[in-house]
Each structure stands twice: as C-alpha cells, then as structure tokens.
Amino acid sequence: MAQRIEVKGLDVYYGSFRAVADVSMVIEPRSVTALIGPSGCGKSTFLRTLNRMHEVVPGARVDGTVLVDGVDLYDPAVDPVAVRRQIGMVFQRPNPFPTMSIAENVLAGVRLNDRRISKADAADLVERSLRAANLWKEVKDRLDRPGASLSGGQQQRLCIARAIAVQPQVLLMDEPASALDPISTLAIEDLIAQLKDEYTIVIVTHNMQQAARVSDRTAFFNVAEAGEPGRLVEIDDTSVVFSTPRHKATEDYISGRFG
C-alpha cells in the first residue's frame, strides 16, 4: 500500500520566479518524513509538488522528476486527478465541506469514484475511517450533523478521516496542527504515529519539537535571502539532524537562533 517516493533535481517555478531549486531526496514507505525550515523556504511549495496541487496556482510548473514506486508523476500520461486520489493531503486549516454532514464529509472522496456505494458499505467505511482518525467515539452519535459543528481539532481529524477514506498510498500534511490548541495537537501527533504503519507520510511543520516527536527522517530547507529560491540543506534520520547536524544553518535553526 505505502509507496516509496524519489525526488530528483526538482525545481519549482511560479511564472519566471524560481521558488524551490534542485531538491533531491528519497522518502521511505511506512515512515514519517518531516520538512522543516524558516518561512518562505519553499517547504510547503515542495510538498504540494508531490501530489501536483501546486498546479492549482496559475503559472506554476516544475522541472525534474518525482518517482512514486518508479512512476514519474510528471509523465505526460499521468493524470493529475488520479495522482491526488493516490496521494492524499491534509491542510493547515481544517476544511470540511460546510454543507455536508460528518458522514458525507468522510464519504466525499469515495463518492467521486463509486457513486453507487451501498448504504451498509458506506456506513462501514465511515466507521472505519473515523476510527482510524481517532474520532469515532466523539462523533458516532451525531454523524448527520454538519462537519462545521465540530471543534477545530475534531475538524482536522475529520479531514484526515476524509483523506484516508479513499485509501491513498501517501499522505501529505501541510502544518496540520498549527491552527490547533495543544491538546488537539497531541491528538493529531498520536494519530500520525499510528498511521505510519499504513502510509508514507510527509509532514511540513514549523514546530521543531513536533518534528522531533513524530518523524523518522527530517529534511531541513533554507532560503539564503528573499527573492532567492529555497533549497534542501540536508536530510537524515531525525535523531541525527537534531543531535549532530552536518550544516551550520541547520544547527542554528534547530537551536532557535533564526526562523
């Protein structure tokens, strides 16, 4: 189910502006890879190129290759819609569909592919996805209430349930806990630790303690100055990056000297 991702020489452009330059890394299956770095270093932009979500912005394009299980995501034969179905995404701010109930939100992605899913199967899938997102116990009695009626942390877990209900191979998370309170943040972190048995997870975070807590490997991005492209400085096992980083910039950043 989980897949290995291999990025080679990736550049990201917005129009003529190069936002990210020359990123190469390997992301192992069934692991959590954290992307850290100061604001504007391109880590979120890079994350979005892993499921072609950056294409939503007009004028955005990439050079280089992203191989998922050996298949280049940017091969002309590859369909971006299919890519996003296989590589799910959770956003910074929880974004359940406001007009849908909790159950409908979970099923939103599934219904796209299988409109005639039976009632029993649907109920089954809702329960499984919500259980996997650690939300089932809290919402099982109000599945037909609007998704927007939940608290922020619950909404974010609902979004995770929605993302895993379509059974993707990879889960991308763009600062999933930055808009949440500390208790909800812990709940999300526990959830990430459970999900990595099933999925390849890539998470962008501003919070270095969070990176240290949840990730197996950590990639540090940096930007020399505004207007320059962001670059990957180093990627290694999280314990190595946080204890004996190879670069001075990494050490400065994780010890809180900038950023």
């Binding site: 499921n51 979500m53 939503v56 007009p58 819609v81 299919a82 890519v83 996003r84 179905r85 296989q86 799910g88 995404m89 956003f91 701010r93 974004n95 359940p96 569909f97 406001p98 007009t99 849908m100 939103a108 992605g109 796209l112 592919n113 927007a148 979004c159 929605r162 993302a163 379509v166």
Partner: protein
C-alpha cells in the same frame, strides 16, 4: 457618534479669542444647515416613495370607484366592465413572461458565471466579465428593435419545429404564428436582458468560494467539475437564488421589448408560440396610455399599482433571501 465628535471639536475651539468664537458660531450654523440638508434629502426620498404610492392610489381612485357600466364604455375593457377581469390576464402575462425569461436566463447565467470564475484563464476573466456587463448597458428600446427586426425572423424556424414535434406539450401548442410576435420570442429577449444581472451576482458569489474548500475537493482527486459541484455550487446556491429574484424583478417591469415584439391578447393561455394570447401590465400601459381618456388613464394607473405591488413583493423576497444568507454565512 461622529456628530458628537464634531460638536466636541467646535466646543474645544470656543475657548479661544472672540474672533475664533464668532467663527465657531458661524460654523455651527453652517453645520446645522448642512445637517438639515442631509436629513432633508433622506426625508425627501421617503416622502417621494410615499408619494408614488399615494398619487398612484389617488389617480387610480376614479377607476376603482367607477361603476362597471362606465368602465365597460372603454373600448379595451371586458364587456362586464370588471377591472379585476381586466387585470387578471395582464398579471398572468406579466408573470409568465418574467418566469419564462428567468427559466432561460438562469442556467445560462450560472454557466457563464462559472466559466468566468473557474474555467477561463485568469487574465481573460475580467475582460470577459465586462463583455457580459456591456449587455446591461444597452437600452431596452434597442433590445426591442433588435428582437423584433433581427431575432424574430430567425426564430420562426425553431418555433415551427417546436410546434410540430413537441406540440403535445401545452406550452408549445401549435400552430406557431408567423411572424413570431409571440410570448416565446419575448421570453428570449427578456432573458438576454436579465442575463447580465444574474451573471454578475452569481459570478461574485462563485468567486467568493473559500479556496480552502476548493483545495479540499481537488486534494481528494476531484476533477474540476467535481470540485465545482462539491465546493462552489453548494456555497453559491443561495446567492444564485437571490440573483434570480433580482432578475425576476427586472423582467416583471420591462416594457419596451414586450411592447415592440408581442402581438397582444388577453387570455390565460399557456401557448407560448401563438400570437394574440398574452400581454403584460407594463406594455399594456405604454400601449393604451397615449390614447386613453381620463377614466382610461385612471384604469391603467390601477393596473400599474398591481405591477408595483408584484415587483415590491418579489424584491422584498429577494432581500429576505439575501439577509437569511448573511445570517447563515455567519454560522
């Protein structure tokens, strides 16, 4: 609040020399006069609206109180001289024309609005939007001219085809009249006229769809259309409803295009392709007014009052929908 601040500032200066004091008093006078003017203008608007209703009622009174025999003397009144029997088919025609126009315009408008907000290239979107807005600037009498002389001859074929193949539907009952000075043609022209309003409002609500929800749909592997269906349309639905109501209000009161195209008649017929079946209140007033005698004018003003009430109801309903949406959005 700001008025209080102004008074406070004036008092602050008043503590100075006598010249300042005098100027302040003069300023105060000016302030009162200016404020009076502003308040007066507001009050004038209220007075005007009351006057619209009041004067229309006053002028309609002779017809409302006239005996059926007197009214029956008017050449275009029904024989029994009943004002209600006269207004009925007119009101029916008015509503029929507006609903028909809206039925044609709303789906197209929603399509255009989606095209501009979510399909057209960003740079083109503004230009394309103002092209549609241009349609709103064209005077209704020019639409009438275009509808009667350019469009109507070209609709003859389609209407005949509809009557031949779908004639069993009451709306398309044949034979299709030639030249097609019929309700269906009027409906098409009115649809073009309300298109810009409905499009402009729908476009705004579609553009206001939160990016978060659009991205949520795309990240689940939705195609562009599925994204529109999951995120954009549910968000914009009530906005489209109020846009449609605004368009309805516009179509109800349209005079010239109807007057110049429709071959009038006073029945409750649904046959859109037959001439001499329908007439609207507004077009009827414009048609009969120049030749009407005192009682005739009075009767026509009475029908104008009915139109006023209908549009008032529709516009209030539109505003109610908008207000409800504002409350719903805050949730």
């Amino acid at each position: 609040m700001s008025a209080v601040a102004g008074r406070g500032a004036a008092q602050g200066v008043a503590g100075g020399a006598t010249t300042t004091l005098r100027r302040t008093r003069r300023a105060d006078l000016g302030g009162r006069a200016f404020r009076g003017l502003a308040v007066g203008s507001g009050a004038l608007i209220l007075a005007m609206l009351a006057a619209v209703a009041g004067f229309l009622l006053l002028e309609a009174a002779p017809a409302l109180t006239a005996s059926p025999a007197e009214l029956a003397a008017l050449s275009w009144m029904p024989d029994d001289g009943s004002l209600w029997r006269y207004v009925g088919p007119l009101a029916f025609g008015t509503v029929l024309a507006a609903v028909l126009a809206l039925g044609l315009a709303v789906p197209v408008s929603v399509g255009i609005a989606l095209f501009i907000s979510h399909y057209a290239p960003r740079r083109l979107a503004d230009v394309l939007g103002s092209l549609v807005d241009l349609l709103a600037a064209i005077p209704s009498v020019v639409y009438g001219l275009w509808g009667a002389l350019w469009l109507a001859p070209r609709l003859q074929g389609p209407w005949a085809w509809l009557a031949d193949h779908l004639g069993f539907v009451p709306l398309f009952a044949g034979p299709a009249s030639t030249p097609p000075r019929v309700m269906a043609t009027v409906g098409v022209v009115l649809a073009v006229m309300v298109l810009p309003i409905v499009t402009a409002v729908s476009r705004e609500v579609f553009l206001a769809t939160p990016r978060l929800h659009e991205e949520a749909a795309l990240a689940l592997g939705a195609t562009r259309w599925e994204m529109v269906r999951m995120a954009v349309l549910p968000f914009g639905r009530s906005g489209v409803v109020s846009a449609a109501m605004l368009g309805l209000g516009r179509a109800l009161g349209e005079t010239m295009a109807v007057l110049m195209i429709l071959g009038p008649g006073l029945t409750y017929s649904l046959a859109l392709l037959q001439v001499g079946r329908h007439q609207t209140i507004a077009a009827n007033v414009a048609l009969q007014f120049p030749e009407a005698n005192a009682l005739g004018v009075s009767a026509l003003i009475a029908t104008g009052l009915v139109l006023f009430v209908i549009t008032l109801a529709v516009n209030s309903a539109a505003r109610w929908v908008v207000a409800r949406r504002a409350v719903g959005g805050a949730r």
